[in-house]
Amino acid sequence: MESSPPRKKSSILPPGKENWITKNPFEEFGTFAASASDLPLDQIVQSTGAVMDRIRRGYEKLLEEEAKELVWMVQYNTIIKAYEVAEKYVKEIDYTAEDIEDFCFALENTQRIPYLIPGPAGVYISALCNYTKEEEIVLKLSELKTEINLIGFRLPKAKRLMIEGDTGDFTGIGLEGGELVIEGNAKNWTGAGMRGGKILVKKNIGLHTGEWMMGGEIYVGGKVRGLGNIVEGKVFEREKLVYPGKVRYPNLYY
């Protein structure tokens, strides 16, 4: 059989442009007039910077009003008062959950924020969490050197705060129905005075757990070092109910 020589591939493209993709995938944007605006990243950095300045100023005001001598005693009244001051500043700022996390890091890593006092810082962060628009807040604090106290103070219903890392004393005190998840350890007086909601500590928890708690549940994935005087509510240790239970004496659990 006679074989015909291979035919040259015909092309519908202009000579020399055979390899070009002729279809312009951006055709509809051909008439879009490019604006001489700032780079979007610059705008983002600028607006984030402005928000952070406002959050920082609020914290400084709180320190000025509540910790003049750089000493802050944790007493019921001082916490309430500090929270009221924090609330006042926080309500005026338009921020997101991400800004809260940035603020936590700025507390340790920037010269612009003068002092990290774990108590007021915790009250202020709690206020930020309670007033942010987002219902779910995740704070990655595992790289912070300081364990912040009072995180989750008065966390309201329908809010879920997740902390990646350890927290200090008085975690989740006065919880008002929210859900607080600590991926690491929590120290003493966790859940003290909480009225409702749920605290979930994935690792261990310290002494006086649930002191004067009035409702809600505390779940501990590790060990409970000691229970406080609990009025009402439930405490679970590794899924086992330890309060209400036979052993009710504060800090004499083992």
Binding site: N24, F26, F29, F32, P40, L41, I44, E136
Partner: protein
């Protein structure tokens, strides 16, 4: 857009179903108007010749909602719709779904096919599709995709068809729907519990199904479907009966269904609606995030993200698979439908934001860590739709911040394509790299 009252008619159908047949709560809002997603998307599916997967708990109206929409949009009495449904079960066969040999003729040595009602009528419903074993799901792939139904050496082609499939949540009797079949569905929607009070009303009232029944027309249509005339002739004969049934619905129930020529006209009107620049750029942004991988060139379900990848903040880092080419087509279809219904002159970003979660929910495979992180979040939607809505919110936020620069980058891309000596714009989003890749491909 032409004012011919078709949109008003569509709203009338929506209202009739909502008030008399499928009690529900609105669960989506667009441009200040509230709709129930199951009815709205079913309506668009019927009008746009789409494919919809309806999920939900047993007894919450998945199948009935589809039946009502099919009956009114295509003017088929409910009895015919019932008689044309395919139900998913492990014993299902090609003969029950598509067609069987004509046994009488076979005895005479002739080969002929008796087509099922399902393969012949334009409104197709597959009930409990996930009860079909995976191996049998592939039987309907081609029909679902192209409307081609083949048996022995014969084939019928549905010029006009839409498909509704219902699926229960996973239980002992369900199978997973195979990925190629899932991808063929344009949208997934949940038929939801209407709330205790509306549910109480449903229980209190007599069944409303009968209002869409018409035994005479049902009998006529069955006779046509059973007859041995050519499929094209059957279609035109069926249309006559359907039109008579449509007139009955208009006169007796006050709801005016669409005739075939109305539906064709509506589709032409929908097709003429184009994207505005924001809708186009936003959709490109979503598609880029759902397909981009800096390391391996594109997302692949068999490849994992590298540790410390620069693009961890984008959706590509949260998902396992790559967006298919059917996704933009589904988005466009339903956005066109929605824009038409709202009498808008173009597809804008609001239409896109509304339809994308439903077009995306069944197609994305999220990474395990994302699922475990979000499954306990407070939400109203089933997890896949919730996650898709969250993803759209995240991308919208990014689009708000970057839209001008992104459109600039696309405009520069266009000018380079037209021969302009410009440098592509830089940016952090994967779409900038995609623009560059297209430009490089053009140059090489």
């Amino acid at each position: 857009m032409r004012k011919n009252g078709y949109q008003k008619q569509a709203r009338g159908i929506y209202q009739f179903i909502s008030e008399h047949l499928y009690f529900n709560r609105p669960d989506m809002e667009i441009k200040g108007e509230q709709f129930n997603s199951a009815i709205l998307l079913s309506l668009l599916t019927g009008l746009k010749k789409g494919k919809e997967l309806i999920i939900g708990e047993p007894g919450l109206g998945k199948t009935t909602s589809a039946e009502y929409v099919c009956s009114i949009i295509y003017q088929f009495p409910l009895g015919v719709i019932w008689g044309s449904e395919v139900s998913g079960h492990p014993e299902q066969t090609e003969e029950k779904i598509i067609g069987r040999p004509d046994l009488g003729k076979l005895n005479r040595g002739e080969e002929d096919v008796v087509w099922t009602n399902f393969s012949q009528i334009p409104a197709k419903i597959v009930d409990e599709i996930n009860r079909l074993p995976e191996t049998k799901q592939s039987m309907i792939l081609d029909g679902v995709d192209r409307g081609n139904w083949e048996y022995l050496n014969e084939m019928i082609i549905n010029d006009e068809y839409c498909l509704f499939a219902t699926a229960n949540y996973q239980d002992g009797g369900t199978n997973t729907i195979i990925a190629p079949l899932v991808d063929r569905f344009d949208v997934m929607v949940e038929s939801r519990y209407p709330g205790a009070n509306l549910s109480f009303l449903i229980g209190k009232d007599k069944r409303k199904d009968h209002i869409l029944r018409h035994p005479k027309y049902e009998k006529d249509l069955y006779l046509i479907l059973k007859s041995k005339i050519a499929y094209e002739k059957k279609i035109s004969k069926m249309e006559e009966v359907c039109n008579a049934y449509g007139e009955y619905l208009d006169e007796v129930l006050g709801v005016k269904p669409y005739r075939r020529q109305d539906r064709d006209q509506i589709r032409t009107e929908m097709e003429s609606l184009e994207w505005d620049l924001d809708a186009s750029a936003f959709t490109r942004m979503i598609l880029a995030e759902l397909s981009f991988c800096e390391r391996y060139g594109q997302k692949r379900v068999v490849e994992n993200c590298e540790e410390g990848c620069h693009y961890t903040g984008y959706l590509c880092h949260q998902i396992k698979n790559c967006a298919s080419n059917r996704l933009p087509s589904s988005i466009k279809q339903y956005a066109q439908g929605l824009a038409w219904l709202l009498e808008d002159s173009e597809i804008d970003i609001e239409h896109i934001k509304t339809v994308v979660p439903y077009a995306l929910a069944h197609r994305i495979q999220w990474k395990e860590e994302i699922l475990s992180q979000k499954e306990r979040s407070k939400r109203d939607d089933p997890l896949p739709i919730f996650l898709a809505k969250e993803a759209v919110k995240t991308v919208s936020q990014r689009y708000r911040e970057q839209s001008e620069h992104l459109k600039d980058a696309l405009a520069v891309g266009s000018r380079i394509f037209q021969g302009g000596d410009l440098t592509p714009l830089e940016g952090d989003h994967p779409l900038y790299l995609e623009v560059k890749k297209d430009i490089d491909a053009r140059k090489n």
